[in-house]
Subunit: 180 residues, 2 copies
């Protein structure tokens, strides 16, 4: 099961939040990130630096059309999950087990505050899911969604070709680093 996170609605002032979305996608087990409809070189550089240092695989794409990317994803059999405070609750009956048991690839869409109404339609999103029906953060919503999807196993994911690794410690900052 491949999981890709698509970010819609990035504006220059969102620079750091969008970077946090991308890094959270990687750290919580997604396979890649798409910054749709816009380009931002500094985010690309930041994410690619993290992948080079901390391992992958993790893909980064930008500039592609959101609509086209979603249409193609669905044509190829993937599911689209739109995270929104208005959606059905993530803890609703079987929604998460429905999504994960389908074994289909998942595109997770995280918007900014106002997304077009069509994102809610069946043609666009297979699921509109809320992580608590309160205003908070797309970073928090994404982390909780991926944590539920991977049932906590994402927190011990091993990354390939990592040059830096943390050695967990109660009182110190400990790293191993492979110098190239």
């Amino acid at each position: 099961m491949k999981v890709i996170v698509l970010r819609w609605g990035h504006r220059p002032r969102d620079l750091r939040v969008t970077t946090h979305v991308a890094l959270t996608a990687r750290a919580f087990g997604a396979s890649g990130f798409v910054l749709a409809d816009v380009e931002d070189k500094s985010i690309k550089e930041k994410v690619e630096k993290v992948v080079a240092d901390w391992g992958g695989p993790f893909t980064f794409e930008m500039g592609s059309s959101c609509k086209k990317t979603v249409a193609e994803w669905k044509k190829n059999g993937g599911i689209v999950v739109h995270l929104t405070m208005y959606g059905q609750k993530i803890d609703d009956k079987d929604v998460m087990s429905q999504i994960s048991s389908s074994q289909r690839d998942i595109m997770i869409i995280v918007g900014s505050q106002k997304v077009p109404g069509e994102f809610f339609s069946e043609e666009f999103s297979d699921y509109n899911i809320s992580i608590g029906a309160q205003p908070h953060s797309e970073v928090a919503a994404l982390a909780i969604f991926l944590d539920r999807l991977f049932k906590g196993s994402e927190l011990s994911k091993e990354f390939e070709q990592a040059r830096i690794k943390v050695i967990p410690s109660q009182r110190e900052k400990r790293l191993t680093r492979i110098e190239s």
Copy 2:
């Protein structure tokens, strides 16, 4: 059990990320937020507007000294938990049940990328905890920590004196709003 989130290391460019930290604290069940050592009026306004519209109680403080706030918290019997990618794993044996079973108030510290080494010491933090030993986001780390602490119940928390509420829906944006 009272839970307060303290943000350390806010810089002007962190405006939106710090706001996301504060809103995530509120939405995921914390009782209040402290922006330590600096002041930022626009964050205060944003958070207080959310509390006025979406309910509370949720306190917002800023400008107080991080060191003093932490020292006073500990003097009053509270626990301090520092979230850091270097800390012991959140899924380690009994760390979360130790923290919650103590029934003591909890101050959660979320820093920016580089925090002073003393944050890791016993004098400062009772626990240094990592949410996955990868670089990602303090917003994601906070959301997962609070979700583990409250065991998912935070997502259906009812807020007092809310003027706006979402009615969860599979396909629509539905709100109830009490006009004042």
